[in-house]
């Protein structure tokens, strides 16, 4: 089963739609609460990153028995130093984004903590593709 969402850069008021929609679906599918929480956190952070740092993006969600796979592909500035981006507290968020309560540099580390597999491909000035997997029994 899959779902697809379009994410618009800069549109903070709509951000979070994909993760709450998936959360509703997973509740109906009867997944354990702790798994739903992990998925919701990881998807939310990934969504916000597109909104805060990129121009536009697409999020694909897929559930198969035992596994949830999410891919977020965006057009944007890309990430010059991936290792640095995954460091807790590192952020290039603009002051405008910080005023909105984001930019603590915890998003990517949080995604990593809540997922079982993660991969990030990025090209500076082109965009970023983030994929992650969450396993469940």
């Amino acid at each position: 089963m899959d779902r697809k969402y379009i994410i618009e850069g800069g549109n903070f008021s709509e951000a979070g739609f994909a993760s709450s929609d998936v959360k509703k679906l997973l509740k109906k599918l009867g997944l354990p609460t702790n798994i739903i929480k992990k998925v919701a956190i990881a998807m939310y952070e990934a969504e916000i990153n597109v909104v805060a740092h990129a121009y536009r993006g697409e999020m694909e969600f897929k559930i198969v028995p035992g596994q949830i796979r999410v891919t977020v592909q965006d057009e944007g500035p890309g990430i010059p130093d991936v290792e640095l981006a995954f460091t807790e507290g590192f952020s290039t968020a603009s002051s405008k984004v910080r005023e909105m309560g984001f930019g603590a540099g915890m998003g990517l580390p949080n995604i990593k903590r809540n997922t079982d597999e993660i991969s990030l491909h990025t090209e500076v000035e082109k965009g970023t593709k983030l994929s992650f997997i969450i396993n469940f029994t």
């Binding site: 009867g30 916000i48 309560g101 984001f102």
Partner: protein, 441 residues
């Protein structure tokens, strides 16, 4: 006892009920029910056991008074030698204090049969202290107040992911019941079975909270009376009062629990929010971003607007009652009961729930994931076929709810949708006509 009778074939007790003979099947309640618990079946608005949270919204909207709250029969007090009335804070706002003082109201309570009156507002003052301690210790934030049983049941049925955020604290009603029973037993040298403690309730949800408590085995409250009924009884004996007795009253911080943002005032944390109205509570939980949610320290959530004064069993206009309660709170600023001294008699355990309330996952489509996925897809497809205008004629609150009922329960078919049926009839008619034309030629 009649009130122990559960609704038909059911797992859960509910105080909100239907008088079938009064129900005209009009669909008003169908639309307003926040948990989509109602279906019109054979012309009657039947409530689902699993989904109902006893918030009372259907009682509020029913134009024929077919929905009602089952409360304890008043004559129940006769079974007890010593009777304690536990007026909810909202009760204190039902009377115009310029004409009928609180002491006069309580004297009337004496007259109708309660030897003792213990204000739930006084217990709320103690819960304020307990919450303060709890907030210091708990790692789980934000804390969601445990005071409104309709909200607790909403979380248990629709938002199991927030169950861990519910404060494991006894609501003021329960604390009032425990303390007052203890006091009377001591004072009268009475046995527990001789003391009845009765809550004067603004709502149906509190009846359910007593009959089937979440977070403990048995409620310390003996019975729950409708605030409207007690109001009427009080009014009818006022003329017989010869001398108004003097009572000690709780102070502002307890009384104010009866209105929206009241409890919030005593939660001394930085990030707090109060939400009122069951539909507002739902959209709050559904739409709040995770980051914002996790940043909060305390959430007061009440099913009624503007707080308990807006409960369905409270007779006075809710906004008038709100103003009255606020005025009363300003007048009775300092508690006459010295909560800071009483609290020392009890340890923290006294204020804690026995066990974690258990979620009831009702949104689950199937226990098997593959089947659940299939069902979810079937529901989506069916929903697409329906017109999406949520007319209610099929007996379901929304087109999606009909699709869900068809797939999950199998009792209805898509031809229960009048639009699909009309289309089908038209198709048959067209087919017959074209056959006719064919023959004529």
């Amino acid at each position: 006892m009649a009130e122990n009778i559960r609704r038909k074939n059911n797992k859960y007790f509910h105080s909100v009920r239907l008088k079938e003979d009064l129900c005209v099947g009009c669909t008003h309640c169908l639309r307003t029910c926040p948990t989509e618990a109602i279906r019109v079946i054979d012309g009657k608005a039947v409530i689902s056991e699993q989904r109902c949270i006893d918030c009372g919204e259907c009682i509020r909207t029913c134009p024929t008074d077919a929905k009602y709250a089952l409360t304890s029969p008043f004559k129940m007090i006769e079974n007890f030698k010593y009777r304690v009335a536990l007026p909810a804070p909202s009760f204190m706002a039902q009377f115009d204090s310029d004409k009928i003082s609180l002491d006069k109201v309580y004297t009337a309570l004496n007259l109708i049969g309660f030897q003792y009156i213990f204000e739930v507002a006084a217990a709320a003052e103690l819960v304020n202290f307990a919450t303060e301690q709890y907030l210091k210790k708990t790692k789980k934030k934000p804390l969601i107040s445990s005071a409104c049983p309709a909200v607790i049941r909403l979380i248990l049925t629709r938002f199991p992911e927030y169950v861990d955020n519910i404060a494991m604290l006894e609501p003021p009603m329960d604390i009032a019941a425990k303390i007052s029973k203890e006091l009377v037993m001591e004072k009268e040298q009475a046995k527990e079975s001789e003391v009845g403690v009765f809550f004067i309730s603004p709502c149906a949800a509190k009846v359910t909270a007593v009959k089937e408590p979440a977070g403990k085995e048995k409620s310390p409250v003996t019975g729950v009376f409708s605030m409207t009924e007690i109001y009427d009884r009080v009014m009818s004996v006022l003329k017989d009062i010869k001398k108004i007795k003097k009572f000690e009253h709780a102070g502002k911080m307890g009384i104010i629990w009866g209105v929206h943002e009241g409890e919030l005032q005593s939660a001394h944390v930085k990030k707090k929010v109060a939400v009122a109205g069951i539909h507002n509570v739902i959209s709050f939980f559904e739409n709040i971003g995770l980051k914002v949610f996790n940043n909060l320290d305390f959430i007061e959530a009440q099913a009624c607007i503007p707080g308990c004064v807006g409960g369905v069993l409270a007779p006075t206009d809710k906004f008038l009652a709100k103003i009255r309660l606020k005025e009363l709170a300003t007048k009775l600023k300092i508690s006459q009961l010295h909560p800071e001294k009483i609290i020392k008699k009890y340890n923290m355990d006294f204020f804690l729930l026995e066990k974690k309330p258990e979620p009831r996952n009702i949104s689950k489509l199937d226990t098997d994931l593959i089947k659940a996925m299939e069902k979810s897809e079937q529901i989506d497809q069916l929903t697409e076929e329906f017109p999406g205008i949520d007319c209610g004629i099929c007996g379901c609150p929304t087109c999606r709810a009909l699709a869900e009922d068809i797939v999950l329960e199998g009792k209805l078919s898509k031809f229960d949708c009048i639009f699909i049926l009309k289309q089908k009839i038209k198709n048959i008619k067209d087919e017959l006509e074209s056959n006719d034309n064919f023959k004529k030629k």
